[in-house]
Symmetry: C2
Amino acid sequence: MEANIRTELHGDELRQAKTSVGLAAELRASIARGDWIQGEKLPSVRRMSEKTGLHRLTVFKAYGMLKEDGWVESREKSGYYVIMPRPNEERIASRRETIDAHRHDPDPDAPANLAAVEDEALSPLPALLGELHSVDCAYQFSQALIDPLLLPNTYLAEQAKQVFDRYPRVLGTYAPLRGDEELLEALRRYLSEACGVDIAESEVLVTGGAQEAIHLACEALVRPGDAVLIEQPSYSVAIEMFRHRNARLLPVGIRPDGYRMDEVEALMRRYRPVLFYMNPTFHNPTGWCVPPEQRKQLADLAETYGCILVEDDAFRDIYFGSPPPAPVYGYDTSGHTIYVRSFSKYVFPGLRIGCLAAPPPLMRRLLAAKARSGGGTPLLNQKVFAHHFQSERSRSHLHKLRIALQLRKEAMETALAGSGWRWHSPSGGLNLWIELPEGLHPERLLADSLGGRHTDTVAFVPGSFFDPDGQADRHIRLSYSLLNERQIAEGTARLRAYAERQTKPPGRSAF
Amino acid sequence: MEANIRTELHGDELRQAKTSVGLAAELRASIARGDWIQGEKLPSVRRMSEKTGLHRLTVFKAYGMLKEDGWVESREKSGYYVIMPRPNEERIASRRETIDAHRHDPDPDAPANLAAVEDEALSPLPALLGELHSVDCAYQFSQALIDPLLLPNTYLAEQAKQVFDRYPRVLGTYAPLRGDEELLEALRRYLSEACGVDIAESEVLVTGGAQEAIHLACEALVRPGDAVLIEQPSYSVAIEMFRHRNARLLPVGIRPDGYRMDEVEALMRRYRPVLFYMNPTFHNPTGWCVPPEQRKQLADLAETYGCILVEDDAFRDIYFGSPPPAPVYGYDTSGHTIYVRSFSKYVFPGLRIGCLAAPPPLMRRLLAAKARSGGGTPLLNQKVFAHHFQSERSRSHLHKLRIALQLRKEAMETALAGSGWRWHSPSGGLNLWIELPEGLHPERLLADSLGGRHTDTVAFVPGSFFDPDGQADRHIRLSYSLLNERQIAEGTARLRAYAERQTKPPGRSAF
């Protein structure tokens, strides 16, 4: 069968793809189904562009992603050919290992640029994010991590040592799959007292951080081709998890006042997504908070359309002013929500303790996924965490941390005043989500700010890293959690200087 | 399209299925491809049995598995209908929560029994294994765990406390994705000195135990429908991981003298498996060891057929007499092996530290899987492990442990002498793999031995739990690692008594 005929056959599906990520996902599913087979040539970029109505650049990017993932290979001056999804040296695509931070969208009408995009073998974004975080730079605004100097390290170490005396065999014992009983009970009590969420102890599962919890939800619920609602922007690691499962990602915009609920309902009605991955409280990367009335509505919609809400509530503890509204989980009376918490982030990043809560039918599937992927969370970590979590000191630590982070946020906002950059000041979380003015490109600004003298280098995350469609974006995320106020003021000033040089007419700067 | 016509279309594929597990996997793949769609009725058991040449009971079991997994639903007196792979309460199949240890193959010609099998909604085996391990019983031979009393708990706890003084911020720091540098270097040195495997430090990845390492290999390499070689019998958790990925499992027999290499080569040539999951050194559950000449051949075959060897080497340290042969990884010059080690099992089960070693092209994929599924292994655990691992005490501990386990093995063998039960005495590992004489059914024996007075109860694992085909087996696994010699002698005597009662003519016993 000719590739062109296949394109006719599958045109309808492919036409639904709106973006390069979407098209790549459709093509992966097509190849997995056997619509295209080993050695077969994919339609030319021009032909696919005509068939799908997508821009040629978008098609190029999609083909580049398939090549990166090892689904197709490109033969010089010939095109893209399907290769069997079988691992061997030739197929194991080598991921790009350096940040090509200078990359930006070329002129779509210039064929030379298109070829350049093809050669670049565009990487999935999170690979780049990992790289970005590991760049050695003077002012690190890219990592939403707590400054280790804000943690009472010595106190915590002494407290942790006590655990060995209280539980002399803690090192020699496997933890139960669902978690240590003492910790499970402490978490249940906390969820009831601090979040107003009353559940049975059997509805809690201890995980190795929030990321493992999200991954378990993905493994337990998502099958290839399933529709998944996701905020736009969203947590890049979650985007990558769902993409890797070949889910069909349906973006839902988030704004300072929450979601457009009619949009959420329309997507649920039309696509019947298996889940909605959301982060409604001090959302990453924006810091915004979904209001209580929408939380109630979300629980109702989830029940109506049988859509599981995966509520990532990693930032609840970091609020400035009054505590955030109750979790969506608290409004759910029909058992459609998986509630994900990170705990160790603000106190014990080296421990990696998180948890999820879910009703029994979902819990059974999540436990099966946990049993398959690695078993119980290490007991030592659970005991050290439980020991601290139940102490008075944990509350006073969080109280101080909130104040320190609020001061840092304000320092960053002060340093940005008068820049013409725009943001909605968040009432919690670790980041500012900033819209750059016209003429400033996030990726180009990043390239410049990482490319200067080392003592002047500044790292931040371009908005495209958080976009489920992988589209360019005018936003950047600046994290104020890792550096102190002085460093924040200095680094922000450096960043503004890079931006100013970029908006000057060419020839006027040394860049 | 009629279901019957679909059966014709897909008959060839389905005919290749030899077992209920195989048929269920084929049907899952068919439904995923859209060969059967939402609401469509699967062929009747009789019809499918005729088409595939499989026994009706086998088809029943396969349909039961699909129902359990939520791919089909059964409507009373009507048949099995495909349901969309979409999670909601109706679909989330409730896993059986008690061991139906009395289950055994009913008379295949009796329709009443077939119906009973259908109603049972057979569980995947590992769910039962987890249940089995958690049964409270007097003599626990089912868990291949080290007796906590054999670990120098107090010493280890004191040693672990020193870590907080050496690294005061260990609790406040995320570990790098690949692992703590100090530990990576220690592991590299160990692999070189103790295993004769020379690799770059960048070819090592720290994991949360061997199980996570196997899961990463599965995630990185296996796609639905891929062929995977696996030993028969094999580690039940690994079986479940590959099954869950909808891999096509191809069993390779293991015997006291290793594999039948012609069989291995024939399977590689014919099915081009993506990987061979193997445990050639003191293999679980049998304890057998693949000889050096086969190790060399395996490396060659892997290169010839582009098959990745996933070498699970969890039991290398527990040998009686001389150390085992070098790992297959040491013979591999073409980069086709992923080497998996468990470390914390014999000293720090509460820490969960393992590692894998792999050449760079595979390592890139494994790292991507690790980044998606949960990120770096907690730093505290790595530092505590590294501190012990590099100490002289770790060597003397292992030396003592080997002697203690050898004595326990001998105690169990002494207690079994004269029983008529047969086994090849292993030269390492934690288990005896025993063939019961004719007339003894492992599952029925387990039911009896768990059903008596509590002070007499004995737990062990029936051989079927380790069979990639899920078939009945005459073997049982008895672990000698958890109980002391006296308990082993007593528990084995109890087990022999249950067996003797079972082989007496009916009516003579109270059972």
